[in-house]
Subunit: 445 residues, 2 copies
């Protein structure tokens, strides 16, 4: 089976990273450079980002190595010199990394990560860093929109089946947890990250039983002391609710508690009202209603704004694919070469030169040179790795999540809208020193 793992992740790279590295080695280039990683812009409806993926990036950098198999493949594919293959055989990432901690709110043009390293080191890691930080930041940012839409209701990641492959399912569970999901249906996310896992039942389970009542009873009997949720829409939601109410009553006499029923089709707002009534009439006011079925943040907001008595949401495809923005325009660019600020002037893709820092203050962020300082402002890029080693263990995921939610809760109103921005401005100003450097840096040819 073709899995990515610690031994082959070094080849999860565009070929040109390796061919450029070979050319650098041949020319004796081993001087220090700095690359920065940032998102160039966001689609109009996206008003902020929640940074995620740093842990994956740092784990990769710490473990990066080329196995004999990898070297043999490279040798067979291109005319890499023996010197270069020996260099790769001995390679370990020795650079310094500054980064925004996971869970930080960020805006376009702000470096999320800065890599200072010998040029070959900094170049070789480009593809993987963009992949890891870009994807996870995109999903955490999307989850934050669900968090805003859910207005305090719980929502759970149900998206694994529609995620883009296996790693995406796992990393999306983590990123959506950071962005506000309370749990994931993905069991692996529980084992790997300690994320709470949860689930209900599938229509096939109901269909495999003679009727809904026997399906519900079977499930409840098996998990008497766990979270029990009945799926009630396999045939007819209202009839299913009546059957569920009856079974719940019976189970109560056995001291078995059912947490909720789930609606997965139809007019969820209308059905929730009718199902709530049925449950309440049977005395089951404590039994919640969970809704799923292709929900996105707009539909969640619409249901709640319409007063639907829904207590929780299962969010799948839209969250784990970031369906309104399935990629971020994330880049990793050389900004300093041996102390000389560098930038790319290509049409429409101008970058700011120099080693930068983001300073967050009460009135917004200042994008500035790294050696500047601003009263009352906190630098967001923190040391994450020195000489190829993490400066600290990764913080607990629950702490990362809390950082994100505290920050989202503190956002100004205009940042919390789900609707498109009408003007493309961000709470970010460029410092005069950085602007001066940008104005005075001219292309070398």
């Amino acid at each position: 089976m073709a899995w990515v793992d610690d031994d082959n992740a070094s080849l999860l790279t565009d070929l040109y990273e390796l061919t450029m590295a070979a050319a650098y080695l041949q020319d004796g280039f081993d001087h220090e450079v700095t690359f920065e990683l940032w998102v160039r812009g966001l689609p109009p409806q996206r008003r902020f980002m929640v940074v995620a993926g740093l842990d994956t990036a740092l784990s990769y950098l710490e473990r990066l190595h080329f196995t004999p198999d990898a070297l043999e493949y490279l040798d067979s594919e291109r005319t890499f010199s023996a010197d270069f293959l020996r260099y790769l055989a001995d390679f370990g990432f020795a650079g310094t990394v500054h980064a925004m901690p996971e869970g930080t709110i960020a805006y376009p043009s702000e470096p999320l990560m800065r890599v200072t390293a010998p040029v070959i080191h900094a170049q070789l890691v480009e593809t993987f860093l963009l992949n890891a930080v870009g994807f996870q930041t995109m999903i955490a940012s999307k989850a934050a929109r669900m968090y805003l839409a859910a207005q305090g209701r719980r929502f759970v990641d149900f998206g694994s089946r529609r995620a883009h492959g296996a790693d995406a399912a796992l990393k999306a569970a983590r990123a959506s947890y950071i962005g506000g999901a309370v749990a994931s249906s993905l069991v692996l996310a529980g084992t790997v990250y300690g994320i709470p896992i949860t689930g209900t039942m599938a229509h096939s389970f109901v269909l495999a039983h003679p009727d809904e009542e026997s399906a519900f009873r079977s499930f409840a009997r098996t998990f008497a002391d766990d979270d029990i949720v009945f799926l009630i829409d396999t045939y007819d939601t209202v009839a299913g609710a009546r059957i569920a109410a009856k079974v719940i009553t019976d189970l109560a006499s056995e001291d078995i508690t059912v947490r909720a029923v789930r609606l997965d089709s139809g007019d969820l707002g209308d059905l929730a009202v009718r199902v709530r009534q049925i449950l309440d009439d049977a005395g089951h006011t404590e039994v919640g209603i969970i809704a799923s079925s292709g929900l996105d943040e707009h539909e969640v907001a619409r249901l709640l704004d319409g007063g639907a008595p829904i207590d929780g949401f299962g969010i799948g495809t839209s969250m784990v694919t970031s369906d309104d923005a399935p990629s971020f325009d994330i880049v990793y660019k050389l900004v300093d070469d041996r102390g000389t600020p560098r930038y790319k002037a290509s049409t429409g893709k101008v970058t700011l030169p120099g080693i930068k820092q983001v300073f967050r203050g009460p009135d917004g962020d200042v994008l500035a040179l790294a050696d500047e300082s601003f009263d009352g402002h906190v630098p967001l890029l923190e040391p994450a790795m020195v000489a190829g080693k993490r400066v600290a263990a990764a913080p607990p995921l629950a702490e990362v999540r809390q950082r994100a939610l505290d920050a989202i809760d503190a956002l100004p109103d205009e940042a919390t809208s789900l609707e498109p921005r009408t003007v493309d401005d961000w709470p970010v100003t460029v410092s005069s020193s950085l602007q001066h450097l940008a104005d005075s840096t001219v292309p070398p040819n």
Copy 2:
């Protein structure tokens, strides 16, 4: 580092697959059922699918097992019975799988895969099968749009950095190769799948040298006998083309051949004309022009329709994220339980009951019951796995790709348009026997 691998892929599942399995075991349900996997619908611009992901699905099914660590985690998370945990410890997938071979053209409502197995077996694999087949089919289908747009020009997968995590980068390289890409920039796709790999250089490489000329010379010297492509837009594309032309002339005297130059920004159509002229004036008519920069199928078609002298395309984000349709509405549903056709009647999500086959004929497909036959029609679902073992080794990837391209080349004109369909009909009819079964199957309650 958190990777998915053969030992933990069994937990790449929604929790409910396991809780339902536990309930089935408790109730002594081990009878045979059949699930089918299909795409319910496609967005208007999508006119066909190219099936991919079967190899991943079968590899998973063959290797599926629960490790002691996995069982320990499950035991800690829910009240799974000792019986159930023992069942999982001994578990191996023992089902029968029919599937469309990878590279087959398919349409909505047609089963891409059919799993017949004891109910627990069939249920446990749902999440992974949907993830693998859904994602890879989506990407192969997107690549086929690029293939149609490129009108015979070569295009290459450049998308790894924007793919949704590590597995997506690898599987997207494979799926886009099936759908028509000639190569991938992803080195791992070469080692794992034998896909041709290719690459150029990054702007950072040019920026790290004193000027473009020295960057080009350094690169060409290092890879004298390989594919050499110069990136000419770091500062000014036209000036870069003149420098490239001069270096190419000089290198020719050293018997070093440069294959192409790459444009990665600006008005690609206009620049391609100007760069072509510069290369031709310098006698480099054999040096090609490769274009990249956020291209999708529409932009590729527009450039070529406008006569842009572009010889090849690097396609990144839009292809590996399937940006116009970042998920397919793919489902895996119970259709038969102990010989009784089953279906889900939920509002808006009605499924056809019964074990089905797709028969392809000269005038389109017939979706029918598996035991039907139609003159001049070929059944598309073929035996892929019996009693948990593949019936044959996976075909070579090049053969899969050729099957797909032959089929795309043979599509009728209306299926090859990149524009939205105006009517939602597919070249698929439902057989009268299947329709009769659907009409006569009533919900059990």
